[in-house]
């Protein structure tokens, strides 16, 4: 699974990063976590407010820092999809 955090480096982007790290630890899901800071790349996802969270190339949240529990459930759903596909 790949998880991307879109943001141009504001305080809340760092907060989101920490929340996602925490959610990954809690769920025990293994994922590749990357930051996307290039504006054109961010625009490619159609996101107009940062920070945004992308799981497996799907935007799940934008313009807010979601709670750890929310992120965990998104990760779990994505993990289920992945195993279903394989």
């Amino acid at each position: 699974m790949n998880v991307k955090i879109l943001g141009t480096g504001c305080a809340n982007c760092k907060k989101l990063y920490a929340v996602v790290e925490e959610a990954l630890v809690q769920t025990g899901i293994r994922a590749e976590l990357t930051k996307v800071e290039d504006v054109q790349a961010i625009m490619g996802y159609g996101v107009m407010s940062t920070p945004a969270l992308v799981i497996d190339e799907t935007v799940v949240s934008a313009g807010k820092v979601p709670r750890v529990a929310e992120v965990s459930s998104w990760l779990a759903t994505a993990a289920m999809k992945e195993t279903g596909a394989v």
Binding site: C10, N12, V47, M48, S49, K64, E70
Partner: protein
């Protein structure tokens, strides 16, 4: 100057739940959904009643607390300062909670994407009016200014209309309006709302007339902006988002509000009347441009600046001068220009600052003449 950004980036408003959240599993039945909605509405109604009761008795409580419990003399300086703080601090915070909650819910209906859809291909004039009005209700933060700008212009929103939005969004916001209402009354709040919208509309329109599209960095128009599929959130989800907004925004700005009111309280009790009249009174013609010049490099939001404004006004500064100062601080911030530099050439930034500053100057002078 405090560098707070209320709710910046974290405006918990955009509902983009491509996958269901934990609290709302996909398997929820209609009956379950109704129950949780009733629970929400009952809790809301109860809180609202409690809010009004407490708000109604605040003056009585403040007087009792200051004069009976603390035994201060109403005529003394200390007594007058303490009474001011004990009444104003809870009043402003309560107003803030209520308004941020309501606006938080309203904002779930307006994401930047819906706003863009409403503005795309819109003609100027009408487009400028719409963009400025949408600037109030669309969640926005200056650190998202660049993606928002690109998203708007690549979707066919005219440049001038985009600027109307970018000017109105930070300048006319719910925190500014609540503080102005709480500290000066509804006339000043309404005045600020009208003038803020007017500047955003006219400045955006002027920038559109100037035909400055070539001053936008060329790569902006070549950017391929994607689309995000949005799901309509459930109504309980919206109600919850409002609470998130209160936690985020009020949680961030309350220390500044309290500090500002404390400064206001001290000035209320101790600084002599008309202290500011010589410097910022309506008589001195240079006071308005000076206020704008002083305001631009300052970086603050409404929560940080309005209590200072209150202090200035109370000691004899003219309303137009103070409004100009406040608008310059909130609407023309240096960090936002640095952010916008990535998509705009320096020339266009100069045009933007020049047009908005001129608008603010005119508002300042007109108010000093009229009021």
């Amino acid at each position: 100057m405090s560098a707070v950004e209320s709710g910046c980036c974290a405006g918990p408003a955009e509902a983009l739940n491509a996958v269901p959240t934990s609290s709302m599993p996909a398997s929820v039945t209609p009956a379950q959904r109704d129950w949780s909605l009733y629970r929400w509405l009952a809790a809301l109604a109860a809180s609202l009643v409690a809010w009004f009761v407490v708000y109604h008795y605040l003056p009585v409580f403040a007087a009792w607390f200051t004069y009976d419990l603390l035994g201060l003399d109403p005529a003394s300086r200390l007594g007058s300062s303490v009474a001011f703080f004990v009444y104003d601090a809870p009043k402003v915070l309560m107003l803030l909670v209520l308004v941020v909650y309501v606006v938080g819910i309203i904002r779930t209906f307006f994401s930047p994407a819906t706003t863009r859809r409403m503005l795309a291909g819109r003609r100027e004039s009408a487009g400028n009016v719409m963009a400025a009005s949408l600037g109030i209700v669309t969640p926005f933060c200056s650190c998202s200014a660049v993606p928002l700008f690109i998203g708007f212009v690549t979707a066919g929103v005219p440049l001038g209309v985009t600027f109307s939005f970018l000017i109105a969004a930070p300048m006319v916001n719910e925190i500014a309006l609540v503080l102005l209402y709480g500290l000066f009354g509804w006339e000043v709040a309404l005045l600020y709302l009208t003038m803020g919208l007017l500047i955003a509309i006219v400045a955006g329109w002027v920038i559109g007339r100037l035909k400055v599209e070539r001053l936008v960095e060329p790569w902006v128009y070549e950017t391929m902006a994607g689309e995000v599929a949005e799901e309509r959130p459930l109504f309980t989800e919206r109600l919850r988002t409002g609470l998130d907004a209160v936690r985020e925004i009020v949680g961030k700005v309350w220390p500044y509000v309290l500090a500002g009111i404390a400064v206001g309280a001290v000035i209320h009790g101790y600084v002599p009347e008309n202290f500011m009249a010589s410097v910022m009174g309506g008589g001195a013609w240079w006071s308005v441009p000076l206020a704008v010049l002083a305001g631009v490099p300052m970086y603050s939001n409404a929560a940080g600046i309005i209590p200072i404004v209150q202090a200035l006004l109370e000691k004899g500064a003219a309303l137009g001068t103070v409004l100009a100062f406040m608008m310059a601080v909130i609407a023309l911030s240096f960090p936002e220009m640095v952010i916008l530099r990535r998509v705009l050439t320096p020339k266009l930034i100069a045009v933007f600052v020049g047009v908005v500053a001129t608008g603010i100057l005119i508002v300042g002078y007109v108010f000093n003449l009229v009021v």
